[in-house]
């Protein structure tokens, strides 16, 4: 059904003004008008609860975006919004502070690089594990493994950091106690930056692999068994089956997870980088700091809210660009998989 002319009908919530937009791309074919049907009303109502939620909890607070552009000062006796609107507009000054700060390029490098590694490993490892676990004979054992591997997901990073500290504490931690007992020198873990990329990557995989594996496994178990039977008849071994049947079948969900994670590439998991490192001691600073730990530290030393707002705004815009880019690239390769 070629719709070459579309009329959008937006009703303003508070009033009755209809805004009509029509788009004409110059096709000479017969133009089909899309009318508002009863079905559309019903669907609109179905989506209404979510719409109202978004209006109240996502869009209403969006005025917060302008905090980044202002020098916020309280006007006594007035509401926050009044004070905010009346505060001095400073344009991009807060952004300048953020981008010209000592740390910007280091933070950028850390945040993005760690995320790239996380994204790649976060697909390779769980997918491989999911395929492997789907092939095990005993379904019971498979369920047991899944349950156990899901455990790390439940633990908050605060709790995990206690556990990591119990291992890595230079004086009393388990690892150093073992080292001493086998005759090696104890390592000052929290003062040695070179180990931490590995430690952090390991902890990230540890926490998320079980969870991601279950998600991909759900997709795998949904694959039609007859496909495999046909492959066997054609003489394919298990390995070939995995590559030519399993992987393509879970492609949509893998791509969706990929795009969504790319959309968060300028964000980092605060708990991982802050709690597990015991609040980023100086020796580890250039190795493990990310935008989010920097913003949090800034908040702690009472930097004004507009500065942290600028940093968050920057993250949001950067992520917006990357996710649209990623989606565009994917849609060019395989238009079904793009999520927008």
């Amino acid at each position: 059904m070629l719709k070459t002319m579309l009329i959008f009908d937006y009703k303003r919530k508070a009033g009755g003004i209809k805004l009509m937009k029509s788009l004409n791309f110059g096709w000479k074919k017969q133009k089909v008008k899309k009318k508002w049907t009863k079905e559309d009303s019903e669907l609109a109502v179905l989506g209404l609860p979510a719409f109202i939620w978004f209006a109240l909890f996502s869009y209403l607070p969006m005025f917060g975006l302008i905090i980044a552009f202002k020098n916020y000062k309280i006007k006594p006796g007035h509401s926050f919004l009044y004070s905010l609107f009346m505060s001095e507009w400073v344009g991009f000054k807060n952004f300048k502070f953020f981008i010209e700060s000592n740390a910007f390029y280091m933070l950028l490098r850390n945040t993005v690089l760690y995320n790239i590694v996380f994204i790649i490993l976060g697909i390779l490892i769980p997918v491989t594990l999911a395929i492997m676990i789907s092939l095990i004979y005993s379904k019971f054992k498979s369920k047991v493994y899944q349950t156990m591997m899901f455990f790390p997901h439940f633990m908050s990073w605060v709790v995990v950091s206690y556990f990591v500290y119990a291992f890595l504490n230079p004086d009393k931690g388990l690892l150093n106690l073992i080292f001493v007992e086998i005759g090696k020198d104890p390592v000052k873990w929290y003062s040695s930056p070179k180990y931490w990329p590995y430690i952090l990557v390991f902890m990230q995989v540890w926490k998320t692999a079980g969870y991601s594996m279950v998600v991909y496994l759900a997709s795998i178990t949904g694959i039609d068994g007859s496909l495999y039977e046909a492959a066997v008849i054609d003489g394919a071994n298990k390995f070939k089956q995995a590559i030519y049947i399993t992987l393509p079948s879970i492609k949509p969900i893998v791509i969706m997870m990929f795009i969504l994670n790319v959309g968060k590439i300028f964000y980092s998991d605060f708990g991982l980088f802050y709690q597990v490192t015991q609040r980023v001691p100086n020796s580890l600073y250039t190795t493990v700091s990310t935008f989010d730990t920097y913003i949090y530290n800034a908040l702690q030393s009472n930097v004004a809210i507009e500065k942290t707002a600028a940093a968050s705004f920057f993250q949001a815009v950067a992520c917006c660009i990357t996710i649209l880019l990623a989606n565009y690239i994917v849609s060019k390769i395989d238009s079904d998989s793009a999520i927008i």
Binding site: L6, F8, F63, H78, F80
Partner: protein
């Protein structure tokens, strides 16, 4: 293309709807609040004269959470307050763990409150934000009792830009550092702790203990031994690397870590670290163990008997280290600030006055509900019935009118008063550094300092190499601008 237009259209319309809704709401709220004029004194006079209405004062403090018997307690104290000053209380006690976040949003969004607990960490930035009321005139004219009760120096220390924005809590507001030891331990090693007056004096005894006990006697955590810096007034800028020596009459602003006396102290710390006197995980240790063989803390000498010892579960002894100093920072450890949007600032001040002068009110806040949390004995002392009370006494008001506990053999507050009285005021008392012109440099330097501080102040690294590195980074970030700006302000303020 289609999608783009859809996007822009959707975004524009949704945003328009939401912003107009928001503007309407804020307009309403603003209209309401405009009825309360921002010229408080005039309003207050009118209110006082025209009605006997009871006003409710909202007070936000940090503590262990809301007390379980809050309602009963409130009903009880409200009766008393009603009679005295026509006020009812509405307390919001935020737990320790939530305090930073909650306080920050409440202040920044200008939520309704009358009195807010504040301390030096956030005081000046909140004043600069416009959150607090200037009470310089109000406190002198309307609550002269309160004004007289707290010493002049302390009001001076609470000033920002020459105006008073807070009522300081008159307690151990001067700072005296002590060396504290496990009594039995030092006796077993024949150490006469009363002779140990300086950091260097401790090296030999602590080395002996380290060898004898085969453990680190002087345990530090990530904060390190920041007491070495206490002789320098940091002008409440939040950058310990910048300061004026408290007794420097010439009031020269200097880079603290390059000063002779500081360098010597840091060298000692590093020596201790290498000798195993300081624990090797100091720079990453989040919290101190309950028991420590030797440590430094602020307080008063009798605290060894009343607090430090009991906390550790052993007998403790203390010896003073250095002089007692009073400076802006020491006084600002606990402040009560009145919101600039408060509708009843005068009543709020009267409440604070009552808290600081009337023992009944003070005890109610400090100990809880009479009959449930404590009772008065015949000689007007207090016997605690349980330790359920969650409010934190140090956030509320002076300690000097808190009724004594039965088990106290002596009044430790007497010693505190004496220490306060004999404290040496810092030469910068009353001066607050206005860093609005150099805030970028300051923020960058603070960030640099925060990275280095744990390792330098715990002796983990050799300060001879690390300090120059840190100063180099800071200078590149504009440290010298800070020195210049601060010095010119100091000169201007004290001319």
């Amino acid at each position: 293309m289609k999608k783009k237009i859809k996007f822009i259209g959707a975004l524009a319309i949704v945003l328009a709807i939401m912003l107009s809704l928001a503007a309407c709401k804020s307009g309403d709220a603003e209209a309401e609040q405009n009825n309360v004029s921002s010229n408080e004194v005039k309003e207050e006079k009118e209110e006082n004269q025209e009605s006997n209405d009871i006003v409710t004062i909202k007070w936000v403090q940090v503590g262990s959470g809301m007390p379980a018997n809050y309602d009963a307690w409130k009903a009880n104290i409200d009766q008393y307050l009603e009679e005295k000053i026509g006020v009812h209380l509405d307390m919001e006690i935020v737990s320790w763990g939530n305090w930073d976040n909650r306080r920050s949003v409440m202040i920044n969004t200008n939520e309704d409150y009358d009195i807010m607990f504040t301390n030096s960490g956030t005081y000046t930035s909140d004043v600069n934000l416009g959150a607090f009321l200037n009470i310089s005139d109000l406190v002198q004219n309307k609550t002269p009792e309160l004004y007289k009760f707290i010493p002049e120096d302390y009001w001076e220390a609470s000033k920002v830009n020459g105006e008073i924005y807070a009522v300081p809590t008159y307690k151990d507001s001067s700072m005296t550092n002590y060396f504290i030891y496990d009594k039995e331990l030092v006796e077993s090693y024949d150490i006469d702790y009363t002779l140990l007056k300086e950091l260097s004096d401790l090296t030999e005894p602590l080395t002996r203990i380290a060898q004898g006990e085969n453990t680190s006697p002087f345990v530090l955590n990530t904060i390190g031994l920041d007491a070495v810096l206490s002789r320098y007034d940091q002008m409440s800028a939040g950058l310990p690397a910048l300061g004026v020596r408290y007794d420097d009459e010439s009031r020269t602003v200097v880079p603290v870590f390059e000063q002779e006396d500081i360098i010597r102290q840091l060298d000692i710390l590093h020596e201790w670290y290498n000798a195993g006197i300081i624990n090797s995980d100091a720079a990453t240790l989040a919290e101190l163990p309950t028991y420590r063989m030797a440590f430094v803390a602020q307080g008063w000498s009798k605290a060894a008997e009343t607090t430090w010892g009991p906390q550790m579960g052993v007998d403790a002894v203390a010896e003073q280290w250095g002089e007692t100093i009073v400076s802006n920072d020491t006084v600002r450890g606990s402040l009560s600030c009145i919101s600039s949007s408060s509708e009843n600032p005068e009543k709020a001040l009267q409440l604070l006055e009552l808290v600081n002068t009337d023992s009944y009110v003070r005890d109610a806040l400090y100990y809880g509900l009479e009959g449930e949390n404590f009772i008065y004995t015949d000689d007007n002392k207090v016997e605690k019935l349980n330790s359920d009370w969650t409010m934190a006494g140090y956030t509320q008001g002076t300690f000097f009118n808190v009724s004594q506990l039965v088990e106290d053999e002596f009044n430790q507050w007497d010693e505190v008063k004496e220490l306060n009285a004999n404290a040496k005021p810092s030469v910068l008392l009353g001066f607050t550094f206005d860093y609005s012109q150099v805030e970028d440099q300051l923020a960058n330097c603070v960030e640099i300092f925060n990275r280095y501080k744990s390792e330098i102040l715990t002796g983990t690294v050799d300060s001879q190499t690390q300090v120059p590195l840190m100063m180099e980074e800071m200078r590149a970030a504009g440290f010298d601008d800070l020195v210049q700006e601060a010095q010119s302000q100091v000169n201007h303020h004290f001319k």
